[in-house]
């Protein structure tokens, strides 16, 4: 079986699956259960100044898919509501009892140097492996000038990171907020400040649903609500893009990334790793299913790696980064055309109506004398958009087949149809 152990920015762990800083890592009881279940590490729920914060009731809400499957999760919980002393004491003991697991302590303190100078030696004394700076919490804390309020200002990110490097010898991971226009800016700032690694994404500002009887968003707290932080499988595509943006940015390329956002299976984890993540953090999936899921994640990842001939994670970390590029470098001469396997077609007509109503009128409905319906691609009209393949409920029925041509690779900057001639697009344009 493949070796899942990692050395992430100097932090060693038996596997890349860490629990993210959140309710599951709130106290020793939970963390011990997580380690017993086999998690490779934890990021202890964010510590803050005394006196501890006070949370409200209720705290979570969800975005459901068909059949009540939770695809998005929203919370309005603040950082730890226990005292600094209790947390530090528990961290010390757990790290002592579980020396092979990664113990990372998440921190959120006000933007003054003194606060950080005071707390960092206390954290280091616990024996923890690293610290993670919570610059991402989008709810509650920004109203007090912390969390995302820091993460959204690159200068603050750089400044606080610098203080941490100054007063602490542990690796510093900077956790970024996705609630920002260009995630590369705070990432670059973290790197300038001396960060050893980046982790992302934190949660996204969200309102999951409205109670249409009470006319209030969820979760409801005494008839009112507030926006929360969104996570779970629905945020995975957003997180993957942000990880890729940082992985392929020349200024931050190569910095270790701990990928976070909707990871609930080995496949999700492999995707984050392929885009450059050296470790992955999980929260929602554990909150929905319990800590046991790490077993299948580890097993699945190992077996998939075996099937691909990868012996360690380093064999494929970042392997998909090189194929993630700007639009202007895509091959204008590449062409795919939809192909419908009539043997597999069940006749639902979804491809037809999707293409007819909303795309390129490239599928014909043929009605036989017996009344049977047949759907055929009008190849001359098909632009290869994939919509029919996406709407088809039968796996493998519609495939996008490459049209072989002898034309060489030609991107938009080389394309004679480009009215600007040869262009150079500024970074960040899409």
């Amino acid at each position: 079986m493949a070796d899942l152990s990692i050395n992430f920015a100097g932090i060693k762990a038996p596997n890349p699956f860490w629990l993210a800083s959140a309710p599951p890592t709130d106290k020793a009881y939970n963390v011990i259960r997580a380690f017993e279940a086999g998690w490779g590490g934890v990021v202890w729920k964010t510590l803050g100044e005394n006196p501890p914060l006070v949370n409200v009731s209720s705290r979570y809400s969800a975005h459901y898919a068909k059949s009540r499957e939770v695809i998005g999760f929203n919370n309005i919980e603040l950082i730890t509501d226990r005292s600094l002393e209790i947390n530090l004491k528990e961290i010390t003991q757990v790290k002592k009892d579980w020396p092979d697991r990664a113990m990372i302590v998440s921190l959120m303190f006000p933007c003054n140097e003194e606060s950080w100078r005071t707390v960092l030696p206390l954290v280091e004394a616990t024996g923890a492996d690293a610290i993670e700076l919570n610059f991402g919490c989008p709810h509650g804390m920004p109203e007090r000038g912390m969390g995302a309020a820091v993460g959204q200002v690159p200068d603050y990110v750089e400044m606080v990171t610098r203080w941490c490097k100054k007063y602490c010898s542990l690796p510093v991971i900077v956790k970024l907020t996705p609630n920002i226009t260009d995630v590369r800016l705070p990432a670059r700032a973290a790197k300038r400040g001396g960060a050893d690694a980046i982790s992302l994404i934190n949660t996204i500002n969200s309102i999951t649903s409205i109670d249409l009887d009470a006319m209030v968003a969820r979760p409801i707290v005494g008839g009112r609500s507030t926006h929360g932080g969104y996570c779970g499988t629905a945020v995975k595509p957003i997180a993957l893009n942000m990880v890729a943006e940082i992985a392929r940015d020349p200024e931050t390329a190569g910095i270790p990334i701990s990928g976070i956002g909707g990871i609930s299976s080995w496949r999700d984890a492999a995707e984050f790793i392929a885009l450059g993540s050296g470790s992955v953090q999980v929260c929602t999936a554990a909150m929905l299913h319990g800590f046991g899921i790490v077993k299948e994640m580890k097993d699945g990842l190992s077996r998939w790696m075996d099937s691909k001939g990868y012996t360690t994670l380093n064999d494929f970390v970042g392997k998909a980064v090189r194929n993630t590029t700007d639009w202007k470098y895509l091959d204008m001469n590449y062409q795919v055309i939809a192909n419908i396997d009539q043997e597999k077609c069940i006749g639902c007509g979804k491809c037809y109506i999707a293409c007819e109503d909303t795309s390129h009128q490239s599928i014909a409905q043929i009605i036989s004398k017996s009344g049977a319906r047949k759907y055929e691609v009008i190849e001359e009209e098909c632009v290869g958009c994939n919509l029919c393949e996406i709407t088809c409920p039968v796996a493998g029925c519609i495939t996008m087949v490459e049209e072989k041509s002898n034309k060489p690779y030609m991107n938009w900057t080389q394309d004679p149809r480009n009215p600007a001639g040869v262009v150079t697009v500024a970074a960040g344009a899409s």
């Binding site: 059949s67 009540r68 006749g347 639902c348 007509g349 979804k350 409905q365 319906r373 409920p393 796996a395």
Partner: protein
């Protein structure tokens, strides 16, 4: 009642046990089940389920309404095509209609969406403050409808909606036709047929007169002169005969007569139940009869058919129900003689073995006897009308594409017209379409005059 079986003992099971034998064969979906099932629907374009539905219900639309918690929207979608959507949801052979056409039969899962049960869910859970359909401006026309079965009721409702008044004439003391008197008790439970008629009549403008039979105390000519138009929804009253000696002996009767008695019985323990029963026939009525008598406590029930299983008009689903109730199906055997005991009562039947010759069953000289103290005939029904002036085609009332009979102003629909599968859902569609044709003809002639 049931003179033919009065010599038999009544059911030995108690009422509580018997009641348990006649609860819903296919239990209703609960809200969670309906949610899950509705989400399995792929929302097909030009959906095969809708194309095959005789009443052309927009299945994908009503199911999407259920999935999005719009139950009244779902119910209205069903009812505007099929005002008897509640009973059709229960009695339709969906296994040869919408659920057979469902594309999910052909995907990897290979299991159709439970369209019938979802339709039932929508109708059972609808909650309208008033009748969901309103009547158009009154036309001043009153139409006579003969027969308060599915075709007559659907026609009456559609006529009322279009602004006409309707008087329905019905022989029996209750409306509903086969839904009330003929469908297996475990398919339509809890007095559903009556509750549905009550809902249907709530649109207003429809009166029903009971105890009125065409040719007895009702004249077609008189109706035709008294009303703006007449719609005949007579059904099929007469049971076919075997054509054997002693066919009227005690112990031999038509299955529909027993089923009607069962459907109307307040006390199931009073029903005569044979020890051994034979059911002659191969349709859904034969299966309904066999299964019901088995459930009443008859321990030895055999359905006998002169052809092979593949020719049975009872659907595969119905045959499975028979098997699940320990009903034997004996094929390639033709009734030859009724066997009587010393008292002249049925003691069994002699059958002649048959075999297929050019697709037809042909006697092959061998015979065998089956013992039984009751024999139920379920070999079909025929039109029971001898009204002068009505053209008959293939033993049924001849009609044109607009349900017009050979008599001016007289229309017909349901089982009494052209050969078909005699399905409730077809009767509803014909009643609905006939109503539109009648309304169109009346409106046009008024305008012309």
């Amino acid at each position: 009642m049931l003179q033919a079986l009065k010599h038999l003992n009544s059911a030995y099971l108690d009422n509580v046990t018997l009641a348990g034998q006649f609860t819903d064969l296919a239990p209703a979906l609960n809200p969670r089940q309906a949610q899950i099932e509705s989400e399995r629907c792929l929302y097909c374009f030009d959906a095969p389920c809708t194309r095959i539905c005789p009443t052309e219900i927009d299945v994908a639309s009503f199911i999407r309404n259920i999935a999005t918690e719009n139950i009244n929207g779902a119910a209205k979608t069903i009812l505007q095509q099929n005002i008897l959507g509640g009973s059709c949801a229960r009695v339709c052979p969906t296994e040869i209609l919408c659920e057979d056409a469902c594309v999910r039969n052909h995907d990897a899962e290979g299991v159709p969406v439970k369209i019938g049960l979802l339709q039932r869910f929508a109708i059972d859970h609808m909650s309208f403050d008033a009748h969901p359909f309103t009547r158009a401006t009154l036309t001043g026309h009153t139409i006579a409808v003969v027969g308060a079965g599915p075709a007559g009721l659907a026609c009456a409702h559609q006529l009322a909606m279009l602004g006409n008044d309707v008087v329905i004439f019905e022989t029996l003391p209750k409306p509903g036709g086969l839904n009330e008197y003929g469908i297996a008790k475990y398919k339509l439970t809890d007095n559903y047929a009556q509750r549905e008629v009550e809902f249907l009549l709530a649109i207003g403008g429809i009166a029903i007169q009971y105890g009125k039979t065409l040719g007895t105390n009702l004249s077609l000519a008189q109706l035709n002169s008294d009303y703006s138009a007449v719609f005949l929804a007579l059904g099929l009253g007469a049971s076919r005969i075997l054509g054997l000696t002693d066919e009227d002996a005690p112990g031999l009767l038509a299955a529909v007569d027993y089923i009607a008695e069962l459907r109307q019985a307040d006390d199931l323990t009073q029903l005569p139940v044979p020890n051994r029963a034979l059911v002659i026939g191969a349709g859904n009525t034969a299966i309904d009869m066999a299964v019901q008598i088995a459930r009443l406590g008859c321990e030895d029930v055999t359905v006998v058919y002169r052809r092979g299983v593949e020719s049975m008009s009872a659907t595969k689903h119905e045959q499975e129900i028979a098997k699940a109730n320990q009903v034997r199906i004996k094929t390639w055997a033709k009734p030859q003689a009724v066997l009587l005991d010393a008292a002249g009562r049925v003691r069994g039947m002699r059958f002649e073995k048959t075999r297929p010759v050019n697709g037809q069953p042909q006697a092959c000289g061998e015979s065998f006897e089956l013992a039984a103290d009751a024999i139920f005939k379920a070999i079909g029904q025929t039109l029971e009308v001898s009204q002068s002036g009505l053209s008959i085609m293939a033993d049924k009332i001849a009609v044109d594409a607009n349900f017009r009979t050979s008599l001016n102003g007289v229309y017909a629909g349901g089982d009494c017209i052209a050969p078909g599968q005699d399905l409730t859902v077809q009767a509803v569609q014909q009643g609905k379409l006939a109503a539109r044709a009648i309304h169109f003809d009346l409106t046009n002639s008024t305008e012309a005059a």
